[in-house]
Every structure is written in C-alpha cells, then in structure tokens.
Point group: C2
Chain length 417, copies 2
C-alpha cells in the first residue's frame, strides 16, 4: 500500500485501567519516531477533545515522562463516555470531526477503549471512507471487563485480575483471623461479563479464595444463594467468603443491587437497615439468614487503577498493542482493531498481535463460556484457570520515590489552533 | 541476671496487620536457636489458646515456612479479642494460665498486640510476679492504628500507611478521568486515632491526595464539612476528594456513621436512601448538598492485609522487634514491651529497639499531636510528612508463584497435653 504522510491523533475512551496509558506510551513512542507522522496529538477527553479542537501536542512532552506513562494508571489524556449518533440520522459530529481532521491534516486516528469506543471508532472509520478522506483508523483494545470480541483477552484485564486475586487471597487470610463466625462478600466490577469476578477463582485455586462465585453470565437465584451459603457456612465451621459481580440479575432481569430499597423497608435483627451495592445487599441478606455479623468489601475503583501491582505481561502487551497499531497503520492497515491471539512458544504462553475488523468488534460482548463455569454455577473450571494464569504473570510497578509511586506528569501543551 | 531455662509461648492478639507474622517469625527463629528455650509454642487464638491448652509446637514447622511468615499477612496462629478480668475481682483465668505455664514449663511469655493486648500482657506479668512464678513476660507491639504509648511508631502502621497512600494516589488519578463533576470520600480505619487516615496526606504531599482530611482527634462539624467541601468543589472545577477516619464524632460524641439511620428516613434527589459507614454517610450528604453523583470508597480489610505492597522498613522492624524481645528476655528483661526509638545514622532515619514498662503502655492511647494538624483541622503539617515518610521506605512483597503471592503454610501440630 501507498505511504501515507500525515499527523496522528490518539484518544482514550471509557473507564480507565492500570494499563491504558501503557498503550498510549506504545502509540506515542512509536509514532514519534516515524517519518510518516510529523505531528502526534493526544485528544483531551477522547472524542470530545477532537470535537472541541482540544488536543495536546505530544512532541512537546519529555520522552522520560512518556516512558513513565507505561506504569501510570488511569487515562493521562482524560477519557469520555460519548456515544456518537447514527450518521444516517445525524452526521453533525462526523462532519465536525472531518473538518478537524482536515484542518490538522490528521491521517492517523487511533482510539483506545472497549465496546462502545470501538463502535465510535468504527463509525468514524466508515464515515471517513464514505467521505473519501484518506485516514487510517485503528482501534486499540482496552477494558478490565475483558469482554471485547475477536481478541483472546483485553489490555487492562490481567492487571485488574491480578489485583483482585491477590487482594482476595489477603482478605481470605485476614478474615479468618478470629475463631468466630466470618462471612464476607466481595463485590467485583463487571456489569455484563463476569471475567473479573472469575479472577477470584485464581485465589481459590491457590487455596485462599471464595467458596461461592456468582457471575452475571447466569441468572442469580436468591433462594439458591441462601441455600448454598447456609450449607457452606455450616460445613466450614461458620466461615464463608462469597464473590459476586456487581451486575448479577434475577430471573426478571432486576439487578440484585436494586434489592437495596426493598431491604430498606425492613430492619435486620440488630435493628439496622444496611444498604449499598450488590455486595452490601448480599451481606445484608446473609446477616439476616445466618444470624451473624457479615461484611461486604467492594474493590471499587481500586481494582482498575492498582498500577503498583499490575501484571507485567499485561503492561508489556498493552504497550506493544499501541506500537503495533502504529506499525500496522503505517504499513497500510485501516478500519481494524489490534487484537491478541494466544499462541505457544517453546511450550510457553505467547501473544501474537493480529487484526480484527472494527465492524466485527463494535458492540459485541464476549462472555465467559458456560463450560468454564462449574455445573452448579458457583465456581470456575480448570479451563478458566489455565486461561487466566499466564496473563497475570510478572509484577509491574512504577518507579518509587520516597516509598511512593512516581507517576507520569505530562505538560499537556494544547496544539495551536 | 540469672540464666532462665524454660519454654516459650507466643500469642497474637487483636486486629491483624500485614506484618504481625513478621514479628512472629522474629520471635520463633530467634527462640528456636536459643539454648535456654527447649520448646517454642505458638498459642492458637492468643490468650484463649493458653486457657484452652491449645497451642502449636513450632519446632515441628519447616524453617522455610517460618521464614515465609515474614511476608504473610494476618495472624498465622489466629488472633483473639479477649479482655481479662481485674485479677482482684476474678482471678480464675490467671490461675488457669499459671497452671498451664507450670504444666508446660513456660518461662517466656510473649504477647503481640495493641493497647488491649498490652493490658492483658501487663496483667499476666503482674500476676506471675505476685504468684512468685518466674516467667519473663514481654510485649511485642502491633497495630495499624499506631496509637501505642512509648514507641515512636507501631509495627503494622507503616505498611498500612504505604498501602493507603499509594491507593489514594491511584484513586486520585482514576477519579479525575472524566471532565465531569467528581466527588469521592475515602474511609480509612481508625476509631480513636487518625494516624492511618493521616497517611492520605502523603499522597497529597505527592500532589495526588485528598483536598480535605478529617481525623477523630478533632470534633467533626457537619456544617463546616459541607462549607469546606462546597468551597473546594467550586474552586477545583467540581473535583473533590475527602479522606475520613471511620471514627470521627460530632460534638455530642455521636459517630458520624450513626447518622446513617437519620439519613435513611429521608431520600435524596434521586429517590434513593444510601447508607453505610462514615464514608458512605458523608458521600450521601455531599450528593444532597452538591447535587452530583458521589462515591464512597472504604479501604476495609484491604488496608491492613496488603502484604503485596508492605513497607520493607516496617517488615524488617517488625521482625527485629520479635528477635529483640527474645534477646532481651533471655538477657533477663521481663515486664516490658519492645519499643521503637527514632534515631539518625549518617543523617538518615534509624530505629533503636528500646524497652517500655508494660504498666505504662497498657491502655494508653497516643494521638496525633494537635500541632501536626493544620490550624483549620483538614490537613497535616510537614512535621507529620517528615515523621511518616521514612517509615514507608522500601517495598516488601511475598515470593510470587504463578503471578500470585506464596504465603506461609504452617502444619500447626498441636502440642501434646
């Protein structure tokens, strides 16, 4: 394919992860050394930065700080949740993007995100094609939810999984410290896919994990949950750890977190109404049913930003995914997302960087295969363990100053209009 | 002093930390190589294990596993919250303990814990003296609360502080990812002392911490809190991070967490009643006052068991404290707690291991000096930063297998009765 000379803009979109900036580092360092790309821009707050003509000139950044992005959590450029309209209904945003691309001679547009972001990326790609504007559009995957179609796993997932599994092991030890009843419900992120909650099974595999795991892939049955819990609580000398995805729903499609307002109407035996998210609801139910103190622990934002305990495999792969996106695009690829293909080299896990059509990725969710969930629906099989273990291999943390992480500090010099 | 030959028993008491087992490792490895101490026992669940004659024969353990205790969180022997009666009122437990000590020829009794545990240790020490039974009683300090009298700081504090400060920095980055209003309340452990909550000031010192910090050392004034929050929220482009100790109270001595039931009676503008601990209450108040989505993050058990990100300084000191307790006792000391004395060597922080009378330590709580809290009561001064930074120096984590921690696995062979 022909050599395309022009500027590059990269945007981060959707919920952040520990390694989304590692992909940014990959894109920026690779693009900055490429002759085809005179200017490299970072969009402030994703697609909104492009619409508002607010983007940073990455050539102005200290290369050392760009390198530090590799171990800096969150989205250094700022992220956004912005859904583009169907261009056949309203093409205002698309025309504006085209205008900005022309003005800044953007010939490489890269977007980093999950399902919704790949939909945005796909729509822009198709619009540019239709408009006859030559622009290489590449998706760079990202999501702790691990639910993107066409890739073996997603950048960000492994680091969150490593953190969740490690913290679960630690809580397992801590929670067993007294010779008294102990019931603990761990709430893990994941609205539709249970991949991250499943990572608690890695702790169980190491003998220090939950007794019961509930995923949004299956309908949540409160009666069965109570029955399962009671059985294990009695069998295990009044110890029980449950892990649950925030997104579990009952057979009517009602989120378990929504049970909170029903529970608020009644009081427990201690005379308190205790509410909160999914974990808090289940902890409250178990308090009533088992008649003992229970505790809900929500990993909350911590699980997606714990760069101090990231997977080295994940960080390296996320960085490489960014590099590969640039390399593929410069070589002529457009309208694709970089994806991971699992392979083996000398009997060991190895990752290939392949391409998937953006149209195929957009808005398709990948869930945990039913056969990886135990028949009774409360655990993961060895297939899942074998899938996940290589991904969490190796420890990555930022450089440390005064015993604390040194994260990247960007100058964020706005590109001149 | 005379050489005392006899067996040693060590117990862990109170809430666990990331390094309580490091002190156990120090005691066990030092005692096991000492000729004066033929048998080394570990009490199951602290003082209860002694009362019930349930303790483990530590000579049966694999030395490699004892070494691994150094990086294993929680209390490997099991802990307990058990308050001994005043011996003048009821000496049943004390007589039982004396009986067990005689039966097993226990001449070294070491107890690892915080204020209450040092009280237990002190009472037993005095009883043994009164009974004329020669037994060297030593306290080994421990508490993430950092509130023990007579020691510069407490084993366990620094690791929890390092984790809290690091996680706060990570959350700071994550929470700022969107260009939308963001209000986040971090709830940190500490009923009476704010030492651990103050650790969030280390994150602020690094430019990525809370805007407001509320400690139980000062009366919590809800009106002032709302006023402070509104001011910063407006000034900081609708971004606000608050850190609060779980134990803050209003001027009537009512815990802020107890406000939950009052709030439950009313609904917020979204029609939800949202409850929980101190952080959740404040997040709920701010949601109503600022009219935006707010989030409470509770570090919960995670903050006291995160051995994957412990302070190397803390781990080494906790281990040495255990060793020193054995050395001091063998040399003739009894009725004391090992304490940390801050010193300097070549212009750098250095820790001396000194002795404090158990009577002085028992039940005395050390709080943050008022002059280390900023005049407006919502921050910490440079004095606190200078105090805390050397303590969190260095990173300690357990050996890693398959990308996950390998914690100690004890055989726990019960001593034959």
């Amino acid at each position: 394919m022909s050599k395309l000379i022009g500027n590059l803009i990269f945007g981060q979109s959707g919920g952040p992860t520990s390694v989304i900036n590692a992909s940014a580092a990959g894109v920026f360092t690779e693009a900055l050394k490429n002759d085809c790309i005179p200017k490299v821009y970072g969009a402030a707050y994703g697609i909104r930065g492009i619409l508002e003509e607010k983007f940073y000139d990455m050539t102005m950044e200290d290369p050392k700080e760009l390198e530090l992005l590799k171990t800096t959590p969150s989205s250094a450029l700022g992220s956004v949740r912005y859904k583009l309209a169907d261009p056949d209904v309203d093409d205002t945003d698309y025309r504006r993007i085209l205008e900005v691309f022309k003005k800044y001679d953007i010939r490489y547009f890269f977007y980093n995100g999950g399902n919704d972001s790949m939909d945005t990326c796909n729509k822009i790609s198709k619009f540019m094609q239709k408009a006859g504007y030559e622009c290489r559009v590449m998706g760079v995957p990202k999501t702790i939810d691990n639910d993107l179609y066409g890739t073996d796993h997603c950048p960000g997932y492994a680091s969150a999984a490593k953190y969740v599994a490690t913290s679960t092991m630690e809580v397992y030890h801590d929670a067993r410290v007294y010779d008294t009843p102990m019931v603990c419900v761990l709430e893990v992120m994941g609205r539709n896919g249970g991949w991250l909650t499943a990572a608690t099974a890695l702790a169980a595999y190491k003998g220090a994990g939950p007794d019961l795991i509930y995923l949004p892939e299956l309908v949540f049955d409160m009666d069965k949950f109570i029955e399962d819990s009671k059985r294990i609580y009695e069998k295990n000398n009044h110890k029980l750890i449950v892990a649950v995805s925030e997104g579990v729903k009952d057979k009517n499609g009602k989120y378990i977190s929504e049970y909170a307002s029903d529970l608020a109407l009644t009081k427990d035996s201690f005379g308190h109404a205790q509410l909160g998210g999914t974990g808090a609801v289940l902890a409250d139910v178990l308090k009533r049913e088992l008649g003992c103190k229970t505790r809900a622990i929500e990993f909350s934002l911590l699980q997606r930003c714990a760069a101090h305990w990231a997977s080295k495999t994940d960080v390296e792969e996320a960085f490489t995914a960014g590099q590969k996106a640039v390399q593929y695009a410069v070589e002529g690829t457009t309208d694709h997302m970089v994806a991971y293909e699992r392979s083996e080299k000398n009997g060991k896990y190895f990752c290939n960087y392949v391409l998937v059509n953006l149209s195929d990725v957009a808005n398709t969710e990948k869930k945990i295969p039913r056969e990886w969930i135990t028949p009774d629906g409360t655990g993961l099989t060895q297939d899942f363990i074998d899938y996940a273990l290589p991904l969490i291999e190796g420890e990555s943390s930022p450089p440390i100053v005064d015993g604390l992480p040194r994260f990247a500090k960007l100058k964020k010099v706005l590109a001149t209009k």
